[in-house]
């Protein structure tokens, strides 16, 4: 019998390039859902950036938890860290005109995630952050 709304769970350590392990899993999930190459690539990129944000900004060395929630019409991915949290309203939206002459060229992750996914939500507290991203089928 087909299980309704199956979930794939993945735990990755905070180590260099572990985001690639996450995207291997998202690619397999996307293939299972018969998502096209474009959507698969967008999911992989957004997930990679969410993992890198957790690695770089959470301030925690605890593992990152990733849940892939599969349904008939969408894929929901949740990336959870147990870091210090952040206030999204205080994160500047980057633009190239400022970045090109700025000392700080980085800070593009949230913009990429929001551009590449259909919906994105952030829940953050001093106990950690969960990014919930949806890609419609």
């Amino acid at each position: 019998m087909k299980k309704l709304n199956p979930t794939v769970e993945l735990t990755i350590p905070v180590l260099p390039d572990m985001e690639l392990l996450a995207t291997q899993t998202s690619a397999a999930v996307a293939k299972h859902m018969s998502l096209d190459e474009e959507k698969t690539a967008e999911i992989n990129m957004a997930l990679s950036e969410a993992c890198i944000n957790a690695f770089e900004h959470s301030g925690s060395n605890s593992d990152i938890e990733i849940h892939f929630k599969i349904s008939d019409d969408r894929l929901i991915i949740q990336v959870t860290d147990s870091g210090k949290g952040f206030d999204k309203s205080k994160v500047d939206i980057p633009n190239i005109e400022e970045k090109i002459s700025s000392e700080h060229k980085r800070g593009w992750g949230l913009k990429l995630i929001e551009e590449l996914m259909d919906t994105v939500q952030f829940e953050s507290s001093e106990d950690g952050t969960t990014v919930t991203m949806t890609k419609n089928k």
């Binding site: 260099p16 190459e37 474009e38 992989n44 890198i52 190239i96 002459s101 980085r106 593009w108 913009k111």
Partner: protein
């Protein structure tokens, strides 16, 4: 850890860098180091062949922005060809296309630079 390698060639004064591997912070720094070394030798125009780098992250691309800034100081240019669609899209979202040019292939890039 994934390897990242480059090979460097020159045509009509334009430096062409063929990349191979994940364009992350390590990959970006390798490209930047090569570009800055070539700038010190008087080179100004660079093309990246990203055919074998279909996976990038924003940190690696941020280093590309740094290279663009450095090349502006010498009236130089940075261009690309053979981008995977998601890399093309990432460059567009981040605005690199306002300060550098994406070409379909090497011949088109060279035609516009030489």
């Amino acid at each position: 850890m994934p390897d990242f390698n480059i090979s460097v060639r020159e045509q009509n004064g334009v430096v062409i860098i063929d990349t191979d591997g994940y364009l992350n912070n390590v990959g970006g720094e390798i490209i930047a180091s090569e570009c800055y070394s070539q700038v010190d030798k008087g080179k100004k125009d660079f093309i990246l062949n990203l055919e074998k780098s279909p996976v990038v992250n924003s940190i690696g691309v941020s280093i590309i922005i740094e290279i663009i800034e450095k090349l502006q100081d010498v009236n130089g240019s940075l261009s690309y060809f053979n981008l995977a669609p998601i890399v093309d899209k990432t460059f567009s979202i981040m605005g690199l296309t306002k300060y550098s040019t994406i070409y379909t292939n090497e011949a088109e890039a060279l035609k516009n630079l030489t």
